[in-house]
Subunit: 160 residues, 2 copies
DNA sequence: TCGGGCATGGCAACATGTTGTCATGTTGCG
DNA sequence: CGCAACATGACAACATGTTGCCATGCCCGA
């Protein structure tokens, strides 16, 4: 997000074009991510859910899993997922089952109610995806994805 | 973010490739945005700041502005920016100045201390941008940006 | 000039996520 | 087996952002 920050008035003197294009792209990524989040919440809201809950629920759609594993797959902390999972259980969209392998690490599982909610949201998502990609060149989308992937790789190597 | 959700097990039957490529791209956007945020916070931390504060501070680097205007430019709510601005003032990186045009809407302005912090962060950002874009084709970055921009346009038209 | 509409700021509740700490199960190795 | 690492869950504090509400300052038109 530093984009707006360092970009606008800091055209990199000696860096040349790639650097400017980079800042603009990072900027765009941030904006799109915001919109995507809003869209996701918009899809989940009619079902009384949110993007965060949807994501957690979806992770156990096909197989119950302990909270820690879900957190790992989603790239969040255990605690963040634990809180959301507890809320899902409270709303009876999911439930905890005993884990034969670990007494402490209960398995989060979807309930029929949860599955119904999930299907409603996934249907809405698919419809939106179809509308959104209408007339778009798949190759262009793939190229963009590869570009972003390369940036992610490079940036991750800069992280602690 | 619904990507992981609706994508993996929901290969859109009649939608064809664009739809799958779309889901994968949206997924990638989310992951990159997370990394960018982490990188931004990493750059700000040594200065005792954070990405949120940096962004607000940067918005008034060249001209003091009322909180509402900053919020608008950043695409956040007044309240969110107000809280951060108050923290910046508390830390003496910024200060409120009387607004000749509006007695209530004080102008947020950078202090010399704030300007120094800003410059340190911007320098780090620029260095990182140079490293990250090394050997990348600017045209490819621009193409990706345009693709994301198009998606943003389409998705925004689906918002309330 | 008065009054309504709008912008602004302050407050509170909430959602989401992180970091840190602690106690307690689990596991695996000597 | 027993103990030291490790995983897990529970709690608390904090950061960031949203929504809703209310009071007050500002502007413009009747």
């Amino acid at each position: 997000m530093p984009e707006k920050v360092a970009t606008r008035q800091h055209a990199v003197k000696g860096g040349g074009r790639a650097c400017d294009a980079y800042s603009a792209l990072i900027d765009q990524v941030g904006r799109l991510a915001d919109v995507v989040e809003a869209i996701g919440n918009g899809i989940a809201r009619p079902t009384g859910q949110s993007l965060a809950r949807w994501q957690v629920l979806a992770e156990v759609e096909h197989e119950a899993a302990p909270v820690g594993a879900i957190a790992c797959r989603l790239g969040h902390t255990r605690q963040a997922v634990q809180r959301v999972a507890d809320l899902l259980v409270e709303d009876e969209l999911a439930c905890y089952r005993p884990n034969p392998a670990h007494r402490r690490a209960k398995l989060l599982d979807v309930t029929p109610t949860g599955r119904a909610a999930l299907h409603r949201m996934q249907a809405a998502y698919t419809q939106l995806a179809l509308r959104t990609t209408e007339g778009l060149d798949p190759e262009r989308l793939n190229l963009a994805r590869q570009t972003l992937s390369e940036l992610q790789r490079r940036l991750e190597s800069e992280l602690p």
